[in-house]
Subunit: 223 residues, 2 copies
DNA sequence: AAAGTAACGTACTAGTTCGTACATAAGGGA
DNA sequence: TCCCTTATGTACGAACTAGTACGTTACTTT
């Protein structure tokens, strides 16, 4: 009558703190991304897990701490990807274009992350501001852009005197918007920006856009 | 002992359906924009009004219908502004630049609207999709952009073969992002994009960017 | 001035949701 | 093998929140 076999494959423990924790985090990310912080239900997260609500409080302490943990994990995943980006050996124009396109790909592939960021902004960034893990996470990409801009100006190909943060904003804005505002935009203009048939064109757009801006075609073109 | 004067100035009625309705809408807009749909509290909205919760249900029927009413009002306000835009008499380059800058100004001035749009996107645009009032609200601005693009290409100043929806997206993305993502961006990069000292520079940026893209400086600049 | 209706207020309920007290079992070390 | 710690499950409670039943008052119309 034993429903449990006497021997289990090794590593397939009945009780595994790491696995349980990770599973909660994964389910929670989806739930928060889909429903927002206030809209997310702790009971629902528990139901979608192999474990129970009790464990959420056991491992994370509460809804808010779970949310912060989800945010931290999502951001640190992004950081890990960014570290692998190497565009230093490219010429400035191609370097910035490649960076823009990689950002595009990354945002396109991590849509839940974009939604989490939107949600965090609705709550005025109060959680991200508290988390020490997430402070100064932006500097690496900023350094990279700075070096590209400096090189471009030194070589005379970049005419516009642009600021690294501004350039990063320009790229992020485009890449985020098509994900974060897809539904209202789709309702108003009858086009799903995130549909595969628009992907390549938009990917090229952000590259062209940044390069065009930096190389300066817009400067008083009609005066 | 009458705490109420026998005669009141005309127009200052004790009971005014329109005024009460409008006050609820106004307060609700702030509450929804600040806390999201699920986070907003009907009791809180009522408390910030001169009237009671009962009236919210009397005039709107429920929380969700109130939210839709807020959305519809916000969008129709935007529409009203857009109708006043006249850039037809300008040369294509200046026309598109001016449109971009006006969009920038408008988004900068209506931050609660941007937040409502963000919130609606988190909920997958389910309300905006249902509302007939909000359908086809996008076409006017699209027509405008189309005409500008056509004129620019006819005159040979626009080299890039751009799509009107894409161009609108490009402008909206930039103008929305600096408002909707201000908090996470601020936390990561230590700059409040919405601060007054960055306004003029960013306003110029979006204009330059669009013009540069359309006049084609980015095309194979390094090959 | 009477009466009917639109506008409004109070007090309450039903249901949901976060969080916890208490009980229990698995796994590892002595 | 025994025990102790870590991990887990169940059942429940307290607080909050959307929504409503019922009663009342201002304004309008005739």
């Amino acid at each position: 009558m034993s429903s449990q076999p006497a021997t289990r494959p090794p590593g397939d423990r009945l009780r595994d703190a790491e696995r349980t924790r990770a599973e909660i985090l994964e389910v929670a990310q989806r739930e928060f991304a889909r429903n927002g912080y206030a809209g997310a239900r702790v009971d629902e997260i528990a139901a979608l897990t192999r474990t129970t609500k009790r464990m959420i409080y056991y491992y994370f302490g509460g809804k808010e701490q779970l949310y912060v943990a989800v945010l931290e994990k999502a951001y640190s995943d992004v950081r890990a990807v960014e570290r692998t980006v190497d565009v230093e050996h490219l010429a400035p124009v191609e370097a910035i274009r490649t960076l823009a396109e990689l950002t595009f790909d990354h945002h396109d592939a991590h849509r839940d992350f974009i939604k989490l960021v939107s949600i965090e902004n609705i709550h005025h960034g109060e959680h991200i501001r508290k988390s020490e893990v997430l402070a100064n996470l932006g500097t690496p990409v900023l350094d990279l852009i700075s070096r590209i801009l400096d090189a471009g100006q030194a070589q005379g190909v970049f005419v516009t005197d642009a600021d690294a943060i501004d350039v990063h904003m320009m790229i992020s804005a485009f890449c985020c918007f098509r994900i974060s505002n897809q539904h209202t935009f789709g309702a108003l203009f009858g086009r799903d920006m995130t549909a595969p048939e628009h992907r390549e064109r938009q990917r090229a757009m952000i590259g062209e856009m940044v390069v065009a801006y930096l190389t300066g075609a817009g400067r008083r073109a009609a005066t």
